[in-house]
Symmetry: C2
Subunit: 652 residues, 2 copies
């Protein structure tokens, strides 16, 4: 499908926007009027610049409050329209968007609205232009696509058609089923927008909080499916009003936009194939339908992630020494050095960590100046080549690292913010993977690979990376979003979202904060927008593990006694268990399915620590109810009272 995006959807001056849009591979743009008015150049110059970049200008939306107005306003609008038609001809834009009237002066008269739109279309037609009418969710009299379609039918003009926008339909909980019954060639344009579900005025919601399909919670897939069933074969476009996108890197946002549309197209193809294999129950789609007229993007299936194979840190030598010492205190074994790079493998059960000190490597160049930073994550998957093919088709950059003789070549990509994701063949197994690349100091037995796994990896993101990462996790990694949690850092609200694989064998937690002063934002800012803030290691006996670590000199974030006094009033806890929690400084949470025990080490590098975790009976979360307490404890511990490593690392 021809892919287009409204210039209002991103940050920058118009020339900057065009370059980002073209670089992401779009075919066209919707030109936002204020972007043109603020542009230093003529319509002809803009047309030429867009053409040079391979972009058509598909749509222009020069006014509001047109149809159904009293005579003087209507005449005035027509005059204005003629001037805008002049401009559209100069720009080479074939289609004008006219959205439903919101003015209190608008009359509730579909016949009059139809007559007005007929007149507008007739004038457009004389110049070889067309007009599309769209129902705005907060229109005065026309809010639903069904009403707009009724007016278009009454207007009876070949150059007047319908424009659809998924947000305006889905935000009102209107059913898109009827779209399939509209002749596809009467739909002139399609705008796709997603959004988080928010309880607020629909106009404010629309103007500040839309996002790209796949980033929000609306059923945009079904909306597109119904539109394609009408026989629609026009552009697939994005008109996204989002306060954060206006601030973010427009190169990244343009990539998100393209990823979003390609992912959407592919999901619709999958749904169509499922439906064709198993017809929908009667009533879901009624009436005669055209065939889907356009070929849709086919992709390898979303990867089914099996495990976190390893996490790799980029470190300088002093940090490697310090971090290695911490790992040995926490029960990791130094397994050996990489055969061709300056990297060392540490392992505890299934949890494998690599400390990479290779000078001049991508990891060191990108992350090495931050102390100890996670630069790569290995994920086990059955079909690594398929995962890579899908990722690159969804706009991820492949990552090629130098490989020594006999070493394993694993497909890899760069995730948003720069952490490399390696797709590791599940069949390889731990010894298969590490035995090839590392000179292991001792053979591994099956018993070695029992016990500890990485429960989850927690990332801190700049706010403007949130929707980027949600889409990346869903589309590229095939992870599903879990519940969103919000909690108070002492210096600002923070929210987090878990994303996990089907069997929950891979879990990531994404934390963001609006505040510039929270731990999440400070951690993210320090590493260019995305940083791993902790790695959570599972255990079957958290109390024994805590004692063992403590005996070796590991310090944990101190939890106040008040927490345990309150815990006793919130849960029915055995007094012995409560005493053990208190004595060990372990945090506790419970959901409908099970219990969660967890504890955090003091920072072992700037804003990086380990969590020790024990889950029982299918507890689904990450102890978010304890996050405020943990963050307050970290803040009260202060920057000056970390472990020896943290203290030393600030001066490295």
């Amino acid at each position: 499908m021809h892919k287009s995006i409204a210039t209002v959807s991103m940050s920058g001056t118009l020339p900057e926007k065009l370059e980002a849009i073209a670089a992401a591979g779009f075919d066209g743009i919707e030109l936002f009027e204020n972007d043109f008015i603020g542009f230093r150049g003529t319509a002809g110059e803009l047309r030429a610049r867009a053409a040079d970049l391979g972009l058509s200008i598909d749509l222009y939306q020069p006014f509001r409050d047109f149809e159904g107005m009293p005579e003087p306003q209507f005449r005035k609008s027509l005059e204005r329209a003629e001037r805008k038609f002049d401009l559209m001809q100069a720009l080479g834009v074939p289609l004008m968007l006219c959205c439903s009237n919101t003015s209190p002066l608008a009359m509730d008269d579909q016949a009059l609205a139809a007559a007005h739109l007929h007149e507008l279309a007739e004038r457009a037609s004389r110049r070889g232009l067309r007009v599309g009418f769209e129902a705005l969710a907060w229109g005065r009299h026309t809010r639903y696509y069904g009403q707009a379609w009724s007016i278009v039918q009454q207007a009876e003009h070949p150059d007047l058609g319908l424009i659809l926008d998924s947000f305006h339909t889905l935000s009102l909980h209107d059913d898109p089923a009827g779209i399939a019954d509209i002749p596809g060639d009467r739909i002139f344009f399609l705008q796709m927008a997603d959004a988080p579900l928010l309880s607020m005025d629909v106009m404010q919601w629309a103007r500040h909080h839309r996002n790209f399909p796949g980033q929000g919670e609306l059923d945009v897939e079904r909306f597109l499916l119904q539109t394609l069933r009408s026989g629609y074969a026009g552009p697939l476009s994005l008109e996204i009003f989002n306060d954060v996108f206006r601030e973010a890197s427009n190169r990244r946002i343009a990539v998100d936009a393209m990823r979003s549309l390609r992912y959407l197209e592919n999901r619709v193809l999958n749904r169509l194939q499922t439906v064709q294999a198993r017809p929908e129950p009667a009533g879901v789609v009624q009436g005669p339908q055209a065939q889907v007229q356009v070929p849709l993007l086919s992709l390898p299936p979303a990867p089914s992630l099996k495990a976190i194979a390893f996490v790799e840190f980029a470190v300088d030598e002093p940090h490697a020494e310090l971090l290695g010492a911490v790992l040995q205190k926490t029960g990791f074994t130094r397994e050996g050095d990489h055969r061709s790079k300056a990297a060392t493998l540490y392992r505890k059960g299934h949890a494998a960590l690599v400390l990479n000190t290779e000078p001049g490597s991508f990891a060191r160049a990108r992350f090495g100046s931050f102390g100890a930073s996670v630069c790569a994550i290995g994920l086990c998957v059955d079909d690594p080549d398929g995962a890579l093919e899908r990722a690159t088709a969804l706009c991820s950059m492949p990552f090629d690292s130098p490989v020594g003789p006999g070493e394993i070549v694993t497909p890899a990509i760069v995730s948003p913010g720069g952490i490399v994701i390696h797709f590791i063949p599940s069949a390889l197994g731990q010894t298969g993977l590490f035995g090839a690349d590392f000179a292991l100091e001792r053979p591994w037995s099956a018993a070695d690979a029992a016990g500890t796994v990485i429960d989850h990896v927690a990332l801190c993101l700049n706010l403007d990376q949130r929707d980027t990462w949600v889409l990346f996790a869903r589309a590229v990694l095939g992870l599903a979003s879990e519940a969103r949690e919000q909690y108070a850092d002492p210096y600002g609200l923070t929210s987090s979202l878990g994303v996990s694989s089907g069997e929950r064998s891979v879990r990531l937690v994404l934390a963001v904060s609006q505040s510039q002063r929270t731990r999440a934002t400070l951690a993210a800012n320090a590493q260019g927008g995305v940083a791993v803030s902790h790695i959570s290691l599972s255990t079957d006996d958290i109390f024994a593990e805590v004692r063992a670590w403590r005996d070796k000199g590991v310090a944990f974030v101190a939890i106040p006694g008040n927490y345990y006094d309150d815990l006793a009033t919130r849960f029915d806890l055995d007094p012995d268990l409560l005493a053990r929690l208190r004595n060990h400084g372990v945090l506790f949470d419970r959901d409908a399915a099970g219990d969660y025990f967890h504890i955090y080490t003091e920072d072992v590098s700037e804003r990086f620590c380990f969590e020790l975790t024990q889950r029982s009976d299918g507890y689904a979360g990450y102890g978010a109810s304890n996050s405020a307490i943990k963050l307050a404890a970290q803040a009260q511990a202060g920057a000056g009272r970390g472990t020896e490593l943290a203290r030393r690392s600030r001066f490295v």
Copy 2:
């Protein structure tokens, strides 16, 4: 009145919050439960620390969803309450807040709710504690204070009373008139909160967007008045859930909080005196009322600002030279040097600008490293001493600068962010003021002081300075808020708010942006949170003035031709006028009252420029509809293409 504030209202760890609250002069706190749970110390230690700081702990709110629950939950809550009563005794907190139940399990049965609350109060009573019941705006069955009062009456327990919160009443548009009829001693506590008017879910509104009285748009004054008329004589407290306050400097927020309450108290006193002089019409307040039992804060009246006497820049010598040259190009005359300081006066009509290069001065120390920054503003007022007295009573810091022999002593204060505000006696006149302090190079005639005035001064604020400045402008400077405008900077949405004196002879415009990349935020950040971004000079003939400036070599921000093509479709403009606007690069706006012509110079220092303004017929705004175009033009001009001064100043 005893003044208290909930610890949830501000940023930091609990010890940091207590210090800020005490430093601002509060008498007590409401202890937010999570703040206590996260506190590293016992209840006794907290009690002692608060007492050391002169703070009582007035209120504790340990649970929700209490009244009207089924038996097992009710019993469980009672057990929990006993543990929390233990804690309250250890903390020395006399009062527990119980807010109305939001649980879907809650039964719609006032008698049951009353019985449950009776039981709770009876248990509290045995320990010498009391319980207050508050209607939450999103309670399941109890949302209005009238309902809560009815339940309290039915419960019939001397240690159960009502707690009022202005937000919960005013957000539902409930009438506070009836509060005056409640016996004041049955109201146990009063929480005052303001808020901007937002169309969103009331719970989200309440939890993220409340602000201090005087910062928002609710009639908090009338609410307090009605509460005082009941005979209430308890604490006046603030419980403010605000996302931005959680991120901001807690020292400043605590000062805002105290300013807010003192301002509120004084406004209520004024309203009471007005009402006593002229009884309210029947129906506004019904029924028998107690007298107001508490003395309220009396203050000198809000200053009636007459004019902007001068604006002073802190500059280093190279900037003084460059800025002086620009001023002479724009028609300012160098009038002379300060008698005792390294400062030079420039004047054009009524507009006076001072360039202060005094080494070691406050201005240079605070602002001198930023190039050319506004460090002080002089405002003409009839009673400068009264203005100072009021300002300091409202928590502003007085500012004393060294004064040479024979020079004028003007009362001065420090505004939020550090710009000094001088209160200048109106009677002094321009020559009176400047003749004393400056060695004028020539005598001034009446004709000199005609023409140009400073139309407005535009400030860029960090987002977390917005509510601080709104309250300061209203309470301390006596300015009224005008309409809020929102527009797109190419790098993020920006909003602005005008504040003006009664006769609009003093106008300030406050711009803020959530984005870290906008001109507003970059300007504010560069100067520690508050920066003057432009000074607008009025003219009677903008076209002649533009030509004169241009002839002298002043460069203006270039407005694209597309702007004028669009202008022709928006307004009925005489073609000659349109051509003149286009030829001169002047922007145009029109409101119901009149027209606005304006133009901006290119930056004469980093993100600082002059605006030239012509208002006709009472146009009220600041051309906000043109802001996006101006900002796009500034962005396209780029940092590299300013005036010579701007280019040179970056290397100074």
